[in-house]
Symmetry: C2
Subunit: 279 residues, 2 copies
């Protein structure tokens, strides 16, 4: 197991906002990630919310802009904030913002040149929790959430691995990537032309086929510029109805795709997850 | 009076996070600033907290990182977030981060080449409130706060103009600029070699000499790298004691100079100001 190197530590709401670096075996590169450890972590193990960020983000956006630490400190929940792709000069990249570094889409790539490093699905599902639960005061209770591309990632990871998580939520997720430009571009590059391989990474298709034993909470702003073309929450909602899933989709009037939207509702997501993490 | 041009508007905690551009007569350049209007501003006039940011900041840092909108929305207080200096290619600048653009120090400069544009004291004290109270749903109740260089600015503006504000607070202010490297460098450039002209822009000297009819709240992290050399809160504290001022200085153990520190305590500052703004 790789060692964690502490890059930065700052006190925040009585807890510790920390940034670590490590050599990822799954991604074959050095990675950074951020963690908020609430004050309760000084006394014993705490449960964790994994937060998956959107296109172009690093592990810093959510840590600095969402205002989540206040409620996490109150509730005794750690926040685990990974980067959004493998990183480094040796890692394949693309000039576009929606492919390559900053745009890993939380899949395991099978295509050249991406397959060497782009295995964010396995990284988030297995490598990171194993590492963190061995080296930080974390229990094995995990919830997962994310925004946009990260909302897609959170839903896919939870729907495919319901035993690994207590609950899942998302802000403006890419809810049906096989039917939107962002998803089609990324899945073609990372997974190839065979669309049947895409279906294992589409939250709406997974929910319709498998249902979900986990509760799902999704918030979507109705002033979000990406709503109709890229996000398609109504497809997820229809799938949830078909599968009799415990899905609450809330359309939030006037909100856009930004961190001002996330900040406005992150408290409700944390309290939603806390109810399941602390069972 | 110059017109306000709306640059950006985003819904946040039920209110409006907006960014405006205008032609500043005092600064002789185009300026941007950010405003949070709480939900209550849709029904009538609300009081305002002016927030002055620190070195290198623009009007965006506090808006995106402090998490202040949640409590401002609850309390019905507008947040006014100016830039930290005049801006533009025609405006004098310096390669250093602590002089020129991003480092206006909230003074009225008298020296070449700064005197043409660097009049942030007058801009914050008069031009901006006059403009905003005429064009936005703001009452004439104003509180003021800020961080580091902006904490210095907030204290100086309030101590020199107590009738203009209800209350003042600061996070890690440059509390005695005539006796620290940041202040000495900036005041020499902007105000010249005559140190008697510096004294009107030093919070500790102003407080010792004039006292304060306004209540003052100051938070300072004891893990702040700039504490001993640049900030000197103990000098402000001594001045407050001499003047029998209503000053509460709180040393916060373990906190540094970052927005994680500000985010951790901004709620208490907003509630402090609310008690005076709503009298």
């Amino acid at each position: 197991m790789s060692a964690l190197t502490l890059v930065q530590e700052q006190k925040c709401f009585g807890g510790r906002q920390v940034r670590f670096k490590h050599a990822s075996a799954v991604l074959s590169c050095d990675m950074q990630f951020s963690v908020f450890l609430p004050p309760q972590a000084a006394e014993g193990k705490v449960p964790a919310l994994y937060w998956l960020s959107g296109l172009t983000c690093s592990d810093e956006n959510f840590a600095t802009k969402a205002g989540a630490q206040r409620v996490a400190a109150e509730l005794g929940i750690a926040l685990i904030i990974p980067d959004t792709s493998p990183r480094g000069e040796a890692v394949a990249d693309d000039a576009a913002y929606d492919l390559g570094q900053g745009a890993g889409f939380y899949v395991n790539a099978t295509q050249v040149p991406w397959a060497t490093h782009y295995r964010m699905y396995d990284y988030i599902l297995t490598e990171l929790p194993t590492l963190l639960e061995a080296q930080l005061p974390l229990s094995d209770k995990r919830a997962i959430s994310g925004h946009s591309m990260g909302g897609h990632g959170a839903l896919v990871l939870a729907l495919r691995n319901p035993a690994r998580f207590t609950s899942v939520s998302a802000f403006a997720p890419i809810a049906n990537p096989v039917n939107c430009p962002w998803g089609q571009k990324a899945f073609t590059a990372y997974l190839g032309e065979d669309r049947t391989r895409w279906e294992e990474f589409d939250a709406s298709l997974l929910l319709a086929r498998r249902g979900s034993p986990l509760p799902l909470l999704v918030d979507q702003g109705d002033a979000d510029n990406f709503l109709a073309e890229q996000l398609k929450p109504q497809t997820l909602y229809t799938a949830g109805m078909q599968a009799s899933a415990n899905l609450l989709l809330r359309m939030q009037p006037g909100y856009d795709h930004s961190y001002y939207f996330i900040a406005s509702f992150i408290e409700e997501h944390l309290r939603f997850h806390a109810g399941y993490l602390q069972d």
